[in-house]
């Protein structure tokens, strides 16, 4: 089959690789019909996540059709149209039983490697470095899905592919961002990052009753999308003082909930950005935490900061005094998609959330490198490029 492989920093190529096979009883093979780029892929492509190996197939946000099932698969059959959650959960360990699927004890074959860095292993993720299991990703014609009964969900007939593909990762991550931020009716919510996840966080915050959501980014077209499709008020941090504006917008109290949907490659302005860039280049910090810092500073006393932007290692200059003295709550995590998918289908069907506008660029695998460049450089008003491997 054809697959988009990572060969080195910013070097993606389509390679001919063997078709995936059933390796374990609970596996299924899915013929991929759509596979989206995701902001977290950029950390891999740009070389900020360790343990990538040349030849790795990337991609983790996808839908497809079941073509083969292992003997242990009960709920799926050939021909089923499914969305697959990007995080893999065994369904049986304590964490899966508690519906915190991304913390699964058993789905990461390289758990021991991860223990060395994170102390405890977390779940495997498709196409997301060997630290997260080394599973082959979805930017390919076919993909093997372990523990398929738990991770693959049949897509209701009245939900289009263009909406369903984002239920794999972007929508549940946005939902969990709002859930962890403890959004309550009447709250004012600030969301840093107006990419796919940020947009979904805005929509989900409104779904939970937020009175007002403010999106913060530096890319004007993304802010325009946030205003138009997700109903947010917008702030371009390059043109304005974010902390002042947020105070202004909240009667001087600060937002109740602050969501970091940016993560480890955050940009900011002036000396702070130069400082972070330099430290990251010198490997003195692995992650640039400009957004996390600002969220902690902006958040109202007693408020909640929710982190879904991806961090890999160590950050620098976290304002701990503010966190402690303002009595904040900080929560973070990879999303527990398996817990949310059926409910998200329902929200989409009722048009309370709608991810369809994210799909700005349907493309073939062959233009993979260019598609990611466009996505990375925020050109052509790209929100998400989505690969259709069979077109």
């Amino acid at each position: 089959m054809r697959a988009l492989c990572w060969n080195g920093v910013r070097d993606l190529r389509v390679e001919r690789v063997p078709d995936p096979e059933i390796l374990n009883p609970k596996d299924a093979i899915i013929k991929v019909t759509m596979s989206s780029v995701c902001g977290s892929d950029l950390h891999l492509i740009n070389g900020f996540v360790p343990s990538m190996r040349a030849g790795d197939i990337i991609g983790h946000e996808f839908i497809g059709e079941v073509v083969e099932t292992g003997v242990g698969v009960k709920n799926l059959k050939k021909g089923d149209r499914v969305v697959v959650v990007s995080v893999i959960g065994c369904g049986e360990c304590q964490h899966c039983k508690e519906e915190t699927w991304s913390l699964c004890d058993n789905s990461n074959p390289n758990g021991l490697l991860q223990e060395k860095i994170y102390q405890y292993p977390t779940a495997g993720i498709f196409g997301y470095s060997h630290l997260f299991g080394g599973y082959a990703g979805s930017h390919a014609e076919y993909i093997r899905v372990p523990f398929a009964d738990h991770g693959a969900f049949k897509i209701p007939e009245d939900i289009s592919d263009e909406k369903a593909v984002f239920v794999s990762d972007g929508v549940p991550t946005g939902y969990m961002a709002a859930e962890m931020a403890a959004v309550k009716p009447g709250d004012i919510v600030a969301v840093w990052g107006a990419g796919g996840v940020g947009q979904m966080a805005i929509q989900c915050a409104y779904a939970m009753g937020a009175e007002r959501v403010i999106a913060i980014d530096r890319i004007d077209y993304r802010l325009a999308y946030a205003a138009r499709y997700s109903g947010a008020d917008i702030l371009n941090y390059e043109d304005t003082d974010v902390l002042e504006e947020l105070k202004e917008a909240t009667g001087g109290r600060g937002p109740d909930c602050c969501i970091d949907a940016v993560g480890m490659e955050a940009h900011t302005t002036g000396i702070e950005h130069i400082y972070d860039k330099t430290k990251q280049l010198l490997r003195l910090e692995s992650d640039r935490a400009a957004v996390l810092r600002q969220a902690i500073m902006a958040c109202r006393k007693g408020g909640t900061v929710s982190v879904v932007g991806v961090y890999a290692g160590l950050v620098d200059k976290i304002p701990m005094g503010l966190f402690m003295n303002k009595g904040l709550t900080i929560r973070g995590g990879q999303m527990h998609g398996q817990r949310y998918v059926p409910m998200l289908f329902d929200l989409i069907r009722r048009e309370i959330i709608n991810p369809e506008f994210l799909l700005t660029h349907p493309v073939s695998l062959e233009v993979g490198q260019n598609a990611y460049e466009m996505f990375n450089n925020k050109t052509n008003k790209c929100m998400r490029a989505v690969f259709k491997p069979f077109n």
Binding site: R13, P20, L23, I57, D105, P109, A136
Partner: protein, 240 residues
């Protein structure tokens, strides 16, 4: 008094000899070869590269005598081996009886202990173990005995006398808090043979041992909880 002194000095002599011979045979041969090559290359013009000649001479001395002054300085002795003790604690999300029963059925162990080929229970307490030597060099066999057993609580075993593999260990089973499964405490102790005996045995157990045991424990948890061991072995990639 006299006898004691003699014993003392004899002990001292043996100790001195042991300390003097602080390089094992494999290292001695390597030293000899490397030193020989260096000397052969530079013996015609020793003053052109004195450092290399000196190094060559040092290596040859080390090879022939079995003594390395650097090791003496570092208090190192590559002839000695220490027991390797490994302790792993983990929780399995299944009832204690079930976990105990699975472990006590020793024939199950090769399902998750990747280096084990087969365990055969000879009678209630004695069993024969066959392990693969990493690298596919062959297999190795030993007998073990269950020396202590409290159903649903503890299994302790020991290799029988004169086994090629000298090991002992125990597993304790506890209820996890809030009824969330079973806590297992595994203690494994292994004494690798000294000297040339069982080069393959040492290869099997020494540096990789702890990692292997941890991997095996992870696999045990996966088998008993999820019914299969997560893997990517055999999956497609663009690696040539």
């Amino acid at each position: 008094m006299k006898t004691e002194q003699v014993t003392h000095s004899g002990k001292h002599q043996r100790k001195w000899k042991k300390e003097f011979n602080n390089v094992n045979m494999a290292e001695r041969l390597l030293s000899l070869a490397a030193g020989g090559i260096l000397l052969a290359k530079h013996y015609k013009h020793p003053l052109a590269s004195p450092l290399k000649v000196l190094t060559g001479a040092f290596l040859v001395y080390r090879g022939i005598s079995g003594n390395c002054p650097l090791y003496t300085g570092l208090d190192k002795n590559s002839n000695e081996t220490n027991a390797i003790n490994t302790r792993v604690i983990f929780t399995v999300n299944k009832p204690r009886e079930e976990v105990y029963k699975y472990w006590r059925q020793l024939e199950n162990l090769p399902f998750f202990m990747s280096h084990l080929q087969r365990v055969e229970q000879k009678n209630d307490t004695t069993s024969e173990w066959i392990a693969k030597i990493p690298g596919g060099v062959g297999t190795i066999k030993w007998n073990a005995e269950i020396v202590k057993e409290i159903p649903n609580e503890l299994i302790g075993w020991q290799s029988v006398e004169n086994s090629t593999i000298d090991n002992a260990g125990k597993v304790e089973f506890y209820d996890a808090p809030r009824g969330q499964g079973t806590v297992l405490k595994v203690i494994f102790s292994y004494h690798p043979p000294a000297g040339a005996l069982g080069e393959g045995v040492a290869k099997l157990f020494n540096p990789l041992f702890k990692t292997l045991l941890k991997e095996d424990i992870r696999a045990f948890k996966q088998v008993i909880e999820a019914g299969e061991v997560a893997t990517t072995k055999g999956q497609a990639s663009g690696r040539k």
